[in-house]
Symmetry: C2
Subunit: 345 residues, 2 copies
DNA sequence: CTGAAAGCGCTTACAG
DNA sequence: CTGAAAGCGCTTACAG
């Protein structure tokens, strides 16, 4: 079962009795090269007979483009396993770039690792023409570095790196809407469990929205009502325990991630409390299963596919040398009011 | 912000005052080339100064290897969005191949599309050295074709293509265990909703396990108790409606996918019935959220990360020219008994 | 209209 | 020990 040697342009040239140049011109449909139709047809015919397919490595080397973009996912194995979004984001990026003849190399790097040598290598070796970096930390030094070197790069999920184009969901606004919803229901003592460490901008922005909403309602920010989640259900469970252990626990809680909410909700049930009767819960992300919880989870819906699509469009436009129209693209989020939130009793 | 031109071996050779050959020998640490240490150090020094990184396109062209493997996902956008496994499988493949210096190109192709021109192109253009194909249909003609042409290829999630190496979960055994569990609880009238169309081998194998378990218990197979799911919660809802509309509905149902089960469970609740009191439900896949349902879903646990890992190891060994030790690798599945199944009343 | 030639950046026998 | 040269498979000015 040895691999059969594939035909090259050289082979076509030989069989068709023309030069490699002519073959290249015909196959690439070069407009200026006025190849007579007889020659053209002959070349095409031979190419078909030899089952010719261009060698991408040679072609890309000659053209100086890898025709590949890298998608860097900054998450640990665990986070990745439960991130229901990833598939959609990947798909969005993929569809857009494949439509332009590019392919997608995906690479995961642990959030903990410095990661310098991993994805920087991808661009230094020119295996990729550009990068989409998902969920980086608040200040990844490599990103700025790569960007300053002229690497086409777009950040998804964090946006405070100066000058680097980014696509993100409007976390501040989303969190604001979520907390506003609770306030409108009459809640005044509202807890918050972040989606992850405050080293992540998503987490910081959602906290900011939470604070703004409270502020606008004239409620003082109480730091003892805020706990950090860590992308996991377990972290949500821990935080909820501490919230419920308080002498004066909140009547509602805004959780920055449906996944984290899952663990938190489990704890509420474990303790024999009822949602939303005893405590209202609103999440963030609108994961697929959120609507199936008992009661269905009120949450903020994100557009993961669109996020991927916009990321893809942005890198491509930078690669093509067009400047992106917007340096920073914020996609809106939408509230999905379901059964887990109710008026304060 | 124009991209700065990166140094080439030529540059190093010029600056260090040696030939490109010598540079290549030093940088690649060729054992036979007995380069004197002074020369070696000088070359390495210059390489460092020029911030040299080899050009992957040139290197790969010269070596005739793309150092890339493709992961083909045969799912529609919708399926992909809710497939919580994908992330883990991708990660498993990635970790293994990156450890060997390879990268992962991921490509989704609609289950409906014939898909000939999409991923076959990936290998014809030599953009990838091998392929992992996930969840193909029962008989994808391209796979056999590629395999016969000598393409290193491993199939994940279907395994009845002659001679083509595959890695899968033991679906027959898993389904058998699941149904056996219901039988042991005293159920005799057991419905089945498949995970997807019977064109998929996973679906067929799970149906087979269901039949075997019934058979071993001396229960005749009743076709009217079996409905096809389609990877979606909605399809599960539809099937459950039909099951419950029967004059003599089942007391338990084995659903070939937790996702499909989600829809089915919703219908049970909608109708005011209780799980497991009125009907026992067992799923398959053990998705992350399954344990959080009310009641927690009894289901069969799969090892997605390991599946990815084994797939990666297998393609790599084929690429390296070692024959895979096992043509067909079946990973075991484990039952997770939780609250959704109970003894027949 | 078409070919010879140089180039993309690397590898690797083959000579000295 | 090290260099000149051919090769990987393509592109693309530059001549005729």
């Amino acid at each position: 079962v040895s691999r059969k040697r594939r035909a090259t342009m050289q082979d076509i040239a030989r069989v068709a009795g023309v030069s490699r140049t002519t073959v290249s011109f015909v196959l690439n449909d070069i407009p200026d090269a006025n190849i007579p139709d007889v020659t053209r047809q002959r070349v095409l015919q031979v190419a078909r007979e030899l089952d010719y397919t261009p060698n991408a490595m040679a072609l890309n080397l000659a053209r100086g483009k890898a025709m590949t973009v890298g998608l860097i996912v900054r998450q640990t194995a665990e986070q990745l396993s439960i991130d229901a979004f990833l598939g959609q984001v990947i798909l969005g990026v993929m569809r857009v770039i494949e439509a332009q003849g590019f392919h997608l190399i995906i690479h995961a790097v642990d959030a903990s690792a410095s990661g310098t040598e991993t994805y920087v290598e991808l661009v230094r070796t020119r295996k990729v023409d550009g990068l989409v970096i998902s969920s980086p930390l608040a200040n990844d030094p490599e990103i700025k570095l790569l960007h300053d070197e002229g690497t086409p790069i777009v950040v998804h999920g964090a946006a405070d790196i100066p000058d680097v184009p980014s696509v993100d969901v409007d976390n501040v606004q989303g969190a604001y809407i979520a907390v506003k919803h609770l306030l409108d229901l009459g809640h005044r003592r509202i807890g918050h469990i972040t989606n992850t460490s405050l080293r992540y901008t998503s987490s910081r922005d959602r906290l900011k929205g939470y604070r703004q909403a409270l502020d606008d309602a004239g409620i003082a920010y109480d730091n003892s009502l805020v706990f950090e989640g860590e992308f996991t259900d377990l972290s949500g469970a821990n935080a909820m325990h501490r919230l419920l252990d308080m002498p004066n626990p909140p009547t509602a809680v805004f959780i920055g991630s449906d996944l984290v909410a899952l663990g938190a909700i489990g704890v509420v049930h474990e303790r024999g409390l009822r949602i939303p009767d005893d405590i209202s819960v609103i999440g963030f992300d609108d994961l697929m299963f959120s609507q199936y919880l008992q009661p269905p989870l009120t949450t903020m819906h994100l557009p993961p596919y669109d996020l991927g699509r916009r990321c893809g469009e942005t890198v491509l436009s930078i690669i093509r040398g067009e400047l992106p129209t917007s340096q920073r693209l914020l996609l809106p989020t939408e509230i999905r009011v379901r059964g887990s939130t109710a008026p304060l009793r």
